[in-house]
């Protein structure tokens, strides 16, 4: 029995859909105490375990709840029912470069972004060279990031995030940043992660990438878990189901 990195226990997440999305005081007073809303269950009773050291894929159509689930795991959203337990340090790559201040230099932003992601100053200092090296923006590190090209921007953001050195890494559709050379570097980094025995959870629509990287997968449809297990069978079952619909 391998140890569990993330355990998802009958998690349900509800969003409220307001018919009148009017966030004003006047609207609140006018409609009185009764809030007009409809419950939308983005996740219903989802349970599965992610073992330590696995590379785990979350798959499903748009709006199937996989990103919501990932955000619940990342503690950005909180489930209405059920619990999620995590063992080990976690980092989430949901969007790269968020929190960069355009007027500040790349160097200052590495420190800022690193501390937002939970690194201590000492840690960032010791990893600073490898972060900059990985991003490939050495020449411009003391320039304000607003002068960066969009590729440089995301590369620097990605480098900071991937150097957090977590036990569990959550990734949402950010695998496709930078040029081919950078993508190859990222793929290598993920392989290093795997050999180091770390857990990676990936949300993506790119089946070829998932098939080559992941060993297990969970398939969600309309917030309900359809199938869990080895990556190969789950991905082919999902593919069959979506192609069958068309």
């Amino acid at each position: 029995m391998t140890p569990i990195a993330i355990s998802v226990n009958s998690v349900s997440k509800r969003f409220r859909i307001y018919h009148e999305r009017n966030q004003t005081l006047k609207a609140a007073v006018m409609r009185g105490r009764r809030l007009v809303h409809e419950d939308f269950w983005a996740l219903t009773d989802v349970s599965f375990d992610i073992p330590v050291g696995s590379t785990y894929a979350l798959i499903g159509d748009n709006g199937s709840g996989k990103s919501t689930l990932l955000k619940c795991v990342a503690e950005i959203l909180f489930p209405d029912k059920g619990t999620i337990t995590r063992n080990g340090r976690m980092a989430a790559l949901l969007e790269v470069g968020s929190g960069f201040h355009p007027e500040l230099s790349g160097r200052e932003n590495v420190y800022l972004n690193g501390s937002i992601l939970g690194m201590s100053k000492k840690e960032i200092q010791s990893k600073f060279d490898s972060i900059v090296d990985f991003s490939g923006v050495e020449k411009f590190i003391d320039q304000p990031v607003k002068n960066y090209s969009s590729g440089m921007y995301v590369r620097l953001g990605f480098s900071v995030a991937i150097n957090v050195d977590p036990d569990i890494l959550l990734v949402d559709e950010v695998l496709a940043v930078g040029d081919t050379a950078f993508q190859e570097k990222c793929a290598q980094k993920f392989r290093d992660f795997k050999t180091a025995g770390k857990t990676v959870v990936i949300v993506s629509h790119s089946m070829p990438i998932l098939q080559s990287m992941c060993d297990s997968a969970a398939w969600l449809s309309h917030g309900v878990l359809q199938q869990v297990g080895d990556a190969g069978p789950v991905i082919s079952a999902y593919k069959e189901a979506t192609l069958g619909h068309q």
Binding site: F15, A28, F78, L94, S98, L104, S115, K121
Partner: protein, 278 residues
């Protein structure tokens, strides 16, 4: 206090966010941080012309400092007031302004508001230092009062932090808050003895007597204003160079504690819902 522990745990993040505010603010300006002094100086000039030269408001000379300059007397209360306004307006918008970050990254959310508080505190400290130099030139002896001054500045920081923590959450629920608070702050300055001495209110209140047959006077109600107490304390320390009244000091302490507890409570209750609400 769990939330207080969490803030301490993320102190490095708080520091980095504060530095982001301070460094980012005056980037690409020629005068840089000097601009932070321009604002209080400009309002000092305007208020001095209107209130001292035209309306002839004349506060008592500092006792025992002997300083008798309206502009300095004004600044002793105006600088704390300006600080309070900057913190509340800045802190109130901190969550909305960083909504992208909140929706994508897990971190201690209160650091966003508190970094606004700290960066404004930094600016305020510079302003106060300049004021202390000016007071010394005018003949006041401020150095022995520095320790007490620091304590009361800290109390005002805590008070403002509590208020902005609460307002930042309310503003996420109702975006009207920022505009409403803007108007309230404009009125609030005139309900506080910053531009005129409190004796003006006291004498009128005495003439009027108790309200509706009770012993409560207009002055009693007027003095419920937390900023009135803070203004009185700061003037005692900097302008008069004497100990602040005990009851003023206790009120300041009380207001700061209440604001901080309520602010953290409201923030803690809503923190987890922020990513959804924004």
């Amino acid at each position: 206090m769990n939330s207080l522990k969490a803030v301490i745990a993320s102190r490095e993040l708080l520091l980095n966010l504060t530095l982001r505010e301070i460094r980012g603010k005056y980037k690409r300006t020629i005068f840089g941080q000097l601009w932070s002094l321009a604002n209080p100086l400009a309002s000092m000039l305007v208020y001095t012309v209107v209130f001292a030269l035209i309306l002839r408001v004349e506060p008592l000379p500092g006792n025992p400092s002997g300083v008798h300059v309206y502009a300095l007397w004004l600044l002793c209360a105006l600088l704390p007031w300006n600080f309070f306004v900057t913190v509340t307006t800045g802190g109130m918008g901190a969550l909305i302004g960083n909504s992208d970050l909140i929706k994508k990254v897990h971190f201690q959310r209160s650091t966003l508001v508190l970094s606004q508080v700290l960066s404004s505190t930094y600016t305020w400290c510079i302003e106060m230092a300049v004021l202390l130099v000016a007071m010394s030139i005018a003949g006041a002896f401020v150095i022995p009062w520095l320790p007490l001054l620091v304590i009361f500045m800290l109390l005002l920081v805590l008070f403002a932090a509590g208020v902005s923590l609460a307002l930042s959450i309310i503003n996420v629920h109702f975006r009207d808050t920022q505009y409403l608070v803007g108007i309230l702050l404009q009125m609030w300055i005139f309900l506080t003895p910053i531009l005129y001495p409190i004796t003006e209110v006291a004498s009128r209140s005495e003439k009027h007597g108790g309200l509706l047959g009770t012993n409560i006077t207009i002055l009693d109600i007027y003095r419920l204003n937390p900023m009135e107490r803070f203004s009185a304390v700061f003037r005692s320390l900097i302008y008069d160079n004497r100990f602040p009244e005990i009851d003023d000091s206790l009120w300041c302490l009380g207001w700061a504690s209440v604001a901080l507890v309520v602010g953290f409570f409201i923030f803690q209750r809503n923190e987890k819902k922020l990513a959804e609400l924004l």
